[in-house]
């Protein structure tokens, strides 16, 4: 049995997880940076990670009842993400690699979201909708890769929700507050709906919704923006589902916690006779367990990285990564 320690630090969360090679998740411990004001400043966020990483890793090992010495593989998020944040996880991984003299692997954060979803929901070949603060991707496995069937052409869904929340004076995290406000309204304000083929664009919607705040009650705008954005995401997912004819749909990422979005994606899945799976909340957001599990899959096929190949890749597309553990 191989025990892997996974380190996640692409954005606001520093997380460590311990997973074994049978897919048992022994621990996940997170520490999330919440800015006092404004959005995520990459440097400030990375300083948060520097301060908390020791505690997070110690807690993850304690919860897993695993001494550091029994860790046989180190895995870290190599990208995509915020450079300074990625470098914290990378540096810690390198240090542990040298200190423990065990192999290290760097994994793609988006691949990890899909792999932990496949593991947690016990689903072999899903169409995946991955919606978070940094990514909005509809993807399915084909020809050795997680091909992208649709994605945002500008900002991510979670980014739109967070930015709107800030403009509306709501405290971070904005998503749950917008969801709660939206539930209080059913007055729809006409907002731009932008779907291009299988891709979507969200900045126009964000700008219009922000302007609408001046003339409409907050709850109405929150409701209308959420309905419009989620309808767009649901439509591109449905288009990809009709095109790929997959039998399973997997919803993951931080925004997957939203009940309204879950209902919409469940509805389109049922319409096409596909089973709907939502990744459990603790594994849907950024977490170290997904990095550990993907690291194990990757290590089995390709082995570890040489130290000089462990540099971070802040802009690393999901569809650039070969997936040799699937056929």
């Amino acid at each position: 049995m191989t025990l892997c320690l996974g380190l996640e630090s692409t954005a606001h969360t520093f997380s460590a997880g311990v997973v074994d090679d049978s897919g048992n998740i022994l621990s996940v411990v997170n520490d999330t940076y919440v800015p006092q004001e404004g959005g995520l400043h990459p440097l400030k966020t990375s300083l948060h990670h520097v301060e908390c990483f020791q505690d997070v890793i110690r807690k993850a090992l304690e919860t897993a009842k695993t001494p550091l010495e029994s860790i046989e593989l180190i895995s870290f998020s190599q990208g995509p993400g915020l450079g300074p944040c990625l470098r914290v996880g990378c540096t810690v991984a390198r240090a542990l690699h040298v200190f423990l003299d065990v192999p290290v692997v760097g994994v793609n954060h988006c691949v990890a979201h899909i792999e932990i979803g496949r593991l947690a929901c016990k689903v072999e070949d899903p169409l995946t909708l991955y919606v978070s603060g940094g990514n909005t991707i509809v993807s399915a496995f084909d020809c050795g890769r997680y091909q992208i069937f649709g994605e945002t052409l500008d900002i991510a869904l979670g980014n739109m929700l967070d930015t709107f929340a800030r403009e509306a004076g709501l405290q971070h995290p904005g998503g749950p507050k917008i969801e709660a406000l939206a539930r209080q309204s059913s007055n729809y304000i006409d907002l731009p709906y932008t779907v291009k083929g299988m891709d979507l664009a969200l900045t126009g919607l964000l700008t219009s919704a922000t302007h609408a705040l001046k003339t409409h009650p907050l709850a109405d705008v929150a409701f209308s923006m959420q309905e419009t954005a989620f309808s767009m995401v649901a439509e591109v997912t449905e288009r990809a589902l009709a095109h790929t004819e997959k039998q399973n749909v997997l919803l993951t990422g931080g925004v997957a916690a939203n009940t309204r979005l879950r209902d919409m994606i469940r509805s389109i899945s049922e319409d096409h006779g596909a089973a709907f799976h939502a990744v459990p909340k603790e594994l849907a957001g950024d977490n170290g367990a997904m990095i550990a599990w993907t690291g194990l899959l990757q290590f089995k096929q390709k082995g570890g990285l040489a130290l000089e190949d462990t540099g971070v890749i802040p802009k690393w597309r999901l569809d650039q990564v070969p997936i040799p553990w699937r056929t």
Binding site: Q147, H243, D271
Partner: protein
């Protein structure tokens, strides 16, 4: 002219006939219209979205698609003939096309993908010439009508649900870019037999119009669009 055989086809009920395909956007039913075979494209209400968004999208898209089909027919592009439109019901009645989606015939057409995709490219250029983009060019949206072993190459473009009028080089290039993406994601191993011939055909049309310069503009824009995507290495950016 507004003739419907049966008023029950208005509103949300499906017209009588055989369910052909349930797409993402609409349901296709093979029925009859004034005694002839016809395809009913019905944009059924989507339960997942609120009625305000649902009605807006269905009506807008039904009307837009019918108008565009009309314009393409007039120009002689191979698209299904338009028989009737019911905007509020989200229904377009059109000529029934016999054949198979190119997506499902890639194996059978193996040896002649080159000439087929060259013709596809040629006709897509002709569509763009009318300042219309398809908006959802995929190998599912081209119905191949000839026998796979026949010399003849004939097909029909379908599903203009996301098509629109535009004069912009950007929109036309995005149309091509999306088609390339579909080939890369769905037919990755056949890429060389599909995309390069497609571009040859596209270029040929423009050259015949004496506008080879426009092709240069389009291909330059295509390169730009590709490097514009998320997470493209800086070194690859122009």
């Amino acid at each position: 002219m507004r003739i419907m055989q049966n008023d029950a086809t208005r509103g949300n009920a499906l017209p009588a006939g055989e369910l052909i395909r349930k797409g993402a956007e609409a349901v296709l039913v093979k029925g009859t219209w004034l005694g002839q075979e016809a395809l009913y494209k019905v944009r059924l209400p989507k339960a997942y979205r609120i009625p305000q968004i649902d009605a807006k999208l269905r009506i807008e898209r039904t009307v837009a698609e019918a108008r565009i089909l009309g314009a393409l027919l007039e120009a002689g592009i191979p698209v299904p003939g338009l028989l009737d439109v019911d905007a509020k019901g989200g229904i377009i009645v059109m000529e029934f096309i016999h054949g198979q989606r190119i997506k499902d015939m890639v194996g059978a057409l193996h040896g002649k993908l080159g000439p087929i995709f060259e013709k596809v490219g040629y006709l897509v250029a002709a569509i763009h010439e009318l300042n219309i983009i398809h908006g959802d060019l995929t190998t599912s949206n081209i119905i191949y009508e000839s026998k796979p072993d026949s010399e003849d190459i004939s097909f029909t473009f379908i599903d203009f649900g996301l098509a629109r009028h535009t004069t912009g080089i950007e929109d036309k290039s995005v149309d091509i870019h999306l088609f390339k993406r579909v080939i890369t994601s769905t037919h990755a191993s056949m890429y060389d037999a599909m995309y390069p011939p497609f571009m040859v055909g596209y270029k040929k049309f423009l050259e015949e119009q004496g506008r080879a310069a426009d092709f240069t503009k389009i291909s330059r824009r295509l390169d730009q669009i590709e490097t514009r995507g998320r997470y493209i290495e800086k070194s690859e950016r122009k």
